[in-house]
């Protein structure tokens, strides 16, 4: 196997608060392979942004990686200083599109000026080379190259999102991390952006880590997926495996909570309750309060991520009852279009 591009190994991240340390991410492991598009999904507050901010040194000042390793191309980066991150990682290796990035363009600067500035800090490109390159990227993301000198407010929301995507691609990074890039947009605009991301995927070797709470978007646009609940990675694997054979109870229920326009009469299921706020060390399954199949053991330890089956590569689930959930799933009512019992429907 090739070396992963980015790997989280048992990463725990805590925020210091006046009520004590809040564990936003606990023991999270997953990796992204070169050239791959990977999705990170989970409810609001599940720790998605926290996890990805830790990669580029973007955690709030009260947040810290307290255990585990983050490896980029095999090198540990969780303790990098600002200088090291600027010199070795940001923009040219990993570019980051923050959540609510519509506000992340500087309103007082022309978009092209922002590109030139990034180029001067993080690359050897001359100003004219930088502008030339930026125009090409505008073309790729579907914006007219002669609008690079516009100010952000002259663009609509969807156009701003594309301009940011162009900036993210600008120095040809190995990895783009995009935090909810289309959540604020309407469905047509969202689909247009993904049309251009498909093009990026086809024409470059860039990998992407896409953060969203919309599992549909990940199923359509990514190869791999990791599902986060209450700071724990509960399941990860290829989108096909997780679709056909969801194993963790949260993934099973999540799949049944999603509207599918092909089945408008499907009654959507609701996952009652909320993910817990974890103060201090986490010593249980974070889904235990919401799980229909919880047993005593689930309160005593956090379940480890384990391979689901020999046939499915990299498909892992963190549940003490991994072996039983397919059978348990049978208790649920059948939903149009979803297979029952976990057998793939080819």
């Amino acid at each position: 196997m090739t070396e992963p591009l980015l790997e989280f190994r048992d990463v725990t991240i805590q925020y210091q608060t006046n009520r004590g340390p809040v564990t936003a991410v606990s023991g999270a492991s997953f990796s992204i392979e070169p050239g791959e598009f990977s999705g990170l999904v989970g409810e609001s507050g599940s720790g998605k942004s926290t996890l990805v901010k830790s990669v580029i040194g973007g955690l709030d000042s009260n947040g810290e990686v307290t255990a585990g390793k983050i490896l980029y191309k095999g090198e540990e980066i969780q303790d990098y200083t600002e200088e090291e991150l600027n010199e070795k990682i940001r923009w040219k290796e990993i570019s980051y599109i923050p959540q609510s990035s519509m506000n992340s363009l500087d309103p007082l600067q022309r978009v092209s000026e922002q590109a030139v500035e990034i180029a001067s800090v993080h690359s050897d490109l001359s100003k004219s080379e930088a502008l030339e390159r930026f125009k090409e990227l505008f073309e790729i993301v579907g914006l007219s190259p002669d609008r690079i000198d516009d100010y952000p407010h002259q663009f609509s929301g969807g156009m701003q999102q594309r301009a940011i995507t162009a900036l993210a691609l600008f120095l040809d990074p190995a990895l783009i991390i995009a935090d909810e890039p289309t959540t604020a947009l309407d469905v047509i605009m969202q689909d247009q952006i993904f049309k251009y991301l498909d093009r990026v995927k086809a024409n470059t070797d860039t990998s992407m880590l896409l953060i969203t709470h919309d599992i549909s978007v990940v199923f359509e646009s990514c190869e791999q997926i990791a599902v986060l609940h209450g700071g724990q990675v509960c399941e990860s694997g290829s989108v096909e495996d997780i679709y056909r054979n969801p194993t963790h109870p949260y993934s099973i229920l999540l799949q049944r909570a999603f509207p599918d326009i092909r089945y408008p009469d499907r009654k959507l299921e609701i996952i009652e309750g909320h993910p817990p706020e974890q103060l201090g060390e986490v010593t249980e399954c974070s889904f235990v309060e919401r799980c229909p199949w919880a047993v005593d053991a689930c309160y005593e330890n956090a379940p480890p991520l384990e391979n689901v089956s020999e046939s499915e590569q990299n498909h892992q689930s963190a549940c003490f009852r991994n072996d039983e959930t397919h059978a348990l799933k049978g208790e649920l009512t059948e939903l149009a279009g979803l297979t029952d019992g976990g057998e793939p429907n080819e």
Binding site: E43, S44, G45, G142, S156, G157, G158, M159, L185, D186, V187, I188, M189, Q190, D191, Q192, F194, K195, D198, H213, D214, I215, S216, V217, F219, E220, V239, E240, Y243, L254, Q255, A257, F258, P259, D260, I261, R262, P264, K267, L268, E269, I270, I271, G337
Partner: protein, 349 residues
């Protein structure tokens, strides 16, 4: 739309509603006497909402959905057309009518960050509408409202300020504020857009239950057809200020007749990695409402555009209860009676 029996007046009716924003030209414009075209944010929209009925208004960002709601509720005056509440036009409202209307027709605003006063605790936010409408305040009523929107236990939230709430929690407080005065119409502007799916489903079900239990009617606005199909009886698809298609929900989803309705459906992501849905065929965004040309407003982006699309299409009944404004669906010579369409706001220009 079903034709109302004579004796049943819609709770809320809009006829040929227009909201144009006039733009003050710059100094040079006034110097040279050029007057700018108005922004036609809502242009000739008609609908009738019956008791207990939920209708959806769907369309892209900027198509005029929020403006329509704000005009209906009287936050801004229409520049044309009429709004009727229980048969009486707003233009003839007395002070007392307005007071009743303001209590009975509640709006849930799109952006909970703007609609909640940052200095008010949740309790204060909920007491405010009661005070305004002279409704007796009781702790029980407040708990009940929070309970209904599943902010449980209420004590946990009562003393929090908006900045101590997540986006989804704020949105639920906005809903609680709307239902606490027991209105008979709710105008909901993208009330679940900030929530994740399981919470979305819960709120949609809640709104749907409320309409049943309390006999409420609702106009529900969204840009996403997949979330609304569950609760809406009838859907209006809006493009650049106009309703281009109206039909019962299942018909819109199953047999959209307007190319724009089709595009909206085609852009919805499908939670299935094997689905192979093609990406949207639409490019660009709608033209700015300041620069509208004559004819069908969708023509710049329409894959089916024909020469005759340079004249505005009229609205015809393409299927039972389904009204579509598109040249694909009638011949130039077609002289089909169009009375039903007129009710739908389907005249030509």
């Amino acid at each position: 739309m079903e034709v109302n029996p004579m004796n049943e007046t819609p709770v809320l009716e809009i006829r040929n509603l227009e909201k144009y924003f006039t733009r003050k030209g710059g100094f040079l414009d006034s110097l040279f006497g050029s007057s700018k075209e108005p922004i036609r944010a809502v242009d000739d929209v008609s609908l009738a909402l019956d008791q207990n009925e939920v209708q959806g208004i769907i369309g892209e960002s900027g198509c005029g959905k929020s403006t329509l709601l704000k005009t209906v509720i009287g936050l801004t005056d229409p520049t044309g057309g009429d709004i009727f509440y229980k048969g009486k036009p707003l233009s003839e409202f007395s002070k007392r009518d307005w007071k009743e209307f303001r209590k009975n027709v509640q709006i849930i605003f799109q952006n909970p960050f703007e609609s909640l006063d940052p200095k008010f605790t949740v309790r204060e936010s909920l007491i405010e509408p009661l005070k305004i409408h002279d409704i007796e305040y009781s702790e029980e009523r407040i708990h009940d409202a929070l309970d209904r929107v599943q902010l449980n236990p209420p004590q946990k939230y009562l003393d929090r300020l908006p900045k101590q709430l997540s986006g989804g929690e704020k949105q639920r407080v906005s809903i609680a504020r709307a239902i606490i005065v027991e209105p008979d119409v709710i105008l909901a502007d993208e009330p679940v857009s900030m929530l994740d799916v399981s919470t979305q489903a819960a709120i949609l079900r809640l709104l749907s239950d409320l309409t049943e239990e309390l006999g409420l009617s609702m106009l529900y606005i969204s840009h996403d057809l997949s979330t609304v199909s569950d609760i809406c009886d009838l859907i209006h698809v809006m493009y650049l200020g106009r309703v281009v298609e109206t039909a019962p929900t299942n018909q819109i989803l199953g047999q959209p007749r307007h190319p724009y309705s089709q595009a909206l459906i085609d852009a919805i992501p499908i939670p299935d990695p094997f689905s192979d849905r093609p990406r949207t065929a639409l490019d660009g965004s709608p033209p700015s409402p300041e620069e509208l040309e004559a004819g069908c407003r969708f023509k710049d982006r329409c894959p089916e555009r024909m020469p005759r699309c340079d004249t505005a299409p009229k609205k015809v009944e393409t299927d039972p209860d389904q009204f579509t404004a598109c040249h694909l669906h009638y011949e130039e010579s077609d002289s089909r009676p169009n009375t039903e369409a007129a009710l739908q706001g389907g005249n030509t220009q």
